[in-house]
Symmetry: C2
């Protein structure tokens, strides 16, 4: 089995997938795609993924999977004997998927670099300040209800759902690293912070962190 992970150290969707692969105890070849140099928008990468987004996972037979959430679902379906990323029971699974999607849908795509650049170019002025304000706004918009949902649910445990880390934790862990880059004040989110700290104490997560990757610069 040789899985090839096309990814970038600082990409939040890459971080979440690295954590998921680690939780499943799957080895993979790390293939860096240098986003800042635009390697994702040019051949040969665009022949693998016409959307030009990382990550992508290439299977042994050459099949290329895209979209990190779809790949995480595939990991559970292709390797049912490895530790599961989703809990048992349809309602529990729906809860974990919804928590994951709050981050992966409502925050991440809106705060993707290409979206922030497009917004900052239209606004003008200090691009870095405009992007930081935009980033923080959309994190807070979703982290307020996310904190409330995690803090009040009896289903929350050491991690987002009980005491076994999974899909929602992969998304949360990656998002917090991104938050730090953009100086998001985490004071209002004690439950999220507690879960991040618990995850960061696990080798599966810590070894997926951006600074630990071979292309980290």
């Amino acid at each position: 089995m040789t899985l090839k992970l096309y990814n970038y150290f600082r990409s939040s969707t890459s971080t979440r997938l690295r954590a998921a692969l680690n939780l499943k105890r799957l080895d993979y070849d790390y293939v860096p795609v240098h986003l800042v140099k635009g390697a994702h928008r040019a051949a040969p990468y665009t022949t693998l993924n016409p959307q030009g987004l990382v990550p992508a996972l290439e299977l042994e037979d050459g099949t290329v999977l895209t979209q990190s959430l779809a790949i995480m679902e595939w990991l559970d379906e292709a390797y049912p004997d490895r530790p599961p990323l989703l809990p048992e029971g349809p309602v529990a699974r729906a809860r974990v998927r919804a928590l994951a999607q709050m981050i992966a849908l409502e925050i991440h795509p809106v705060n993707n670099l290409r979206v922030m650049n497009h917004h900052a170019a239209a606004v003008g002025g200090d691009a870095e300040a405009v992007k930081r304000a935009w980033f923080q706004h959309w994190v807070h918009t979703t982290f307020v209800p996310l904190e409330a949902m995690l803090a009040t649910s009896p289903d929350t445990g050491l991690y987002c759902h009980g005491d076994r880390p999974g899909t929602a934790d992969c998304c949360l862990y990656a998002q917090i690293w991104n938050n730090r880059r953009f100086e998001v004040d985490m004071t209002p989110y004690p439950t999220v912070t507690r879960i991040f700290d618990a995850l960061d104490a696990l080798p599966a997560f810590a070894s997926a962190a951006p600074a630990r990757q071979p292309d980290a610069g």
Copy 2:
């Protein structure tokens, strides 16, 4: 069985879920949440869904599910004997989920009304023109690779994946209605258009269209 669907006729995520419920042949109570009047951002709706987004699905026992993609996964898991929204086989399922997520992650959240309003307020000028340009930009950014992926894959059939409509089709169908509101030129996307027309000929989809809902105004 009484499923309650909290939704809004023109909401794209609501349209995709209505189509999915119809494909599963499940009856539901239609509970309108008037987004333009802000009903989603106030009690009682925010007690059901603290995130204040539609749709939400309330089950008979009072459990509330949120995030349309998570709910569609739940529909397949909770009703395995009804027509499936995802095909068989992990790789095929990963393809359908990735196509769905191209629309549900890369386009929809960025073009959500609250994001467009926030962008337009920062840019200034003619808000409607600013929003239309933003909307069209993000549709084209993803529809170019989406068209290529659908047009070149042998897995594409009458619909996004083979000849049975499912999750990706629900997302595509809803997105096209939204595109029409914002006057997106569909000329470059003949495969997407062909699939939309095929879906619109099916009662499960046509009856989920925005204009057919009780709260359509």
